[in-house]
Symmetry: C2
Subunit: 200 residues, 2 copies
Amino acid sequence: MTTDALVLDAAAQDLLFREARTANTFTDEPVSDEQVQAIYELVKFGPTAMNQQPLRVVLVRSAEARERLVNHLGEGNKAKTTSAPLTAILAVDNEFHEELPTVFPHFPGAKDYFAGDRDGRVASAAMNGALQAGYFIVGVRAAGLAAGPMTGYDAEGINKEFFADGEHSVLAVVNIGKPGDNAWYPRSPRLAYDEVVTTV
Amino acid sequence: MTTDALVLDAAAQDLLFREARTANTFTDEPVSDEQVQAIYELVKFGPTAMNQQPLRVVLVRSAEARERLVNHLGEGNKAKTTSAPLTAILAVDNEFHEELPTVFPHFPGAKDYFAGDRDGRVASAAMNGALQAGYFIVGVRAAGLAAGPMTGYDAEGINKEFFADGEHSVLAVVNIGKPGDNAWYPRSPRLAYDEVVTTV
């Protein structure tokens, strides 16, 4: 019923939200760099505060890198990550403010605003990076792929292993591919509209 | 070129990302509760860690509530918020863990895991609430509406004004409606694929 209030066609609604699910198994079908680039070129337009773009994506493709990553994952996340066609580390660059003169040129003071406030910068990177991560997951689904985002890992371990500069913080690790056999659990409950939305 | 790698049709890509823009002016056309509910019923399915659903949405509809909100906004955000058809406060409930036995029943210890760690809970609410905010903004666009998310405000002031329990934190304030005259600035630059995505 409420679907009629949307402009997005029903097939796209299903693809992005209704039928898309967090996958725990995948087929062997590879995920190409071209697919990842197409996802990025779409979702890069998602809005953030001051056009901040702290999100960084590390595609873990080599067996050696995958082993280094899996070592930092919780037990329940190891096997599915080892067998996924592609695993992406989503992280934020806490030095994102260096790019503000380029990406937000009409507020020349933006870089300096953040330069002197590391705590504020880290919080802003986390907030806007998570917004971008949400867009990225929608983009994975727009490519006809399933995402399996995980947060069960040793974050400090991943940060040190993959970001030697000490200025990056992992947000999520996401397996990507076509869903395999028994790819998902039954859908867990969502809060009702009236539990989430109020009017004043 | 890269668009061919996506399954989502081009019209939907345009609606959600390519042609959608952060709006600063709006027409007078109202935004109905039915539209907001349709948005929620779609984007509630977006994935989060442990199916956490910390996002709360306050629809600011009365003139009295709008004035209370505008008082806490930065100068540049006041006029456009006063004239928007609808303004929504997106916030997180830092007590979201109370719902985990219902929304994540297969991990009975989830509530207690967060109950003893307020800092971890607040960080988790911020991260997962921002993911949900990203889905919500996509949903606003799916309804054929423009979103104008803002973070220029006195966050503590809004928290106290609208969430008397002290357990909610504002994430963003979002004007919603059909774009009006000169609704947006020229699009600011996005980082190139190679600046964001690396392979290991």
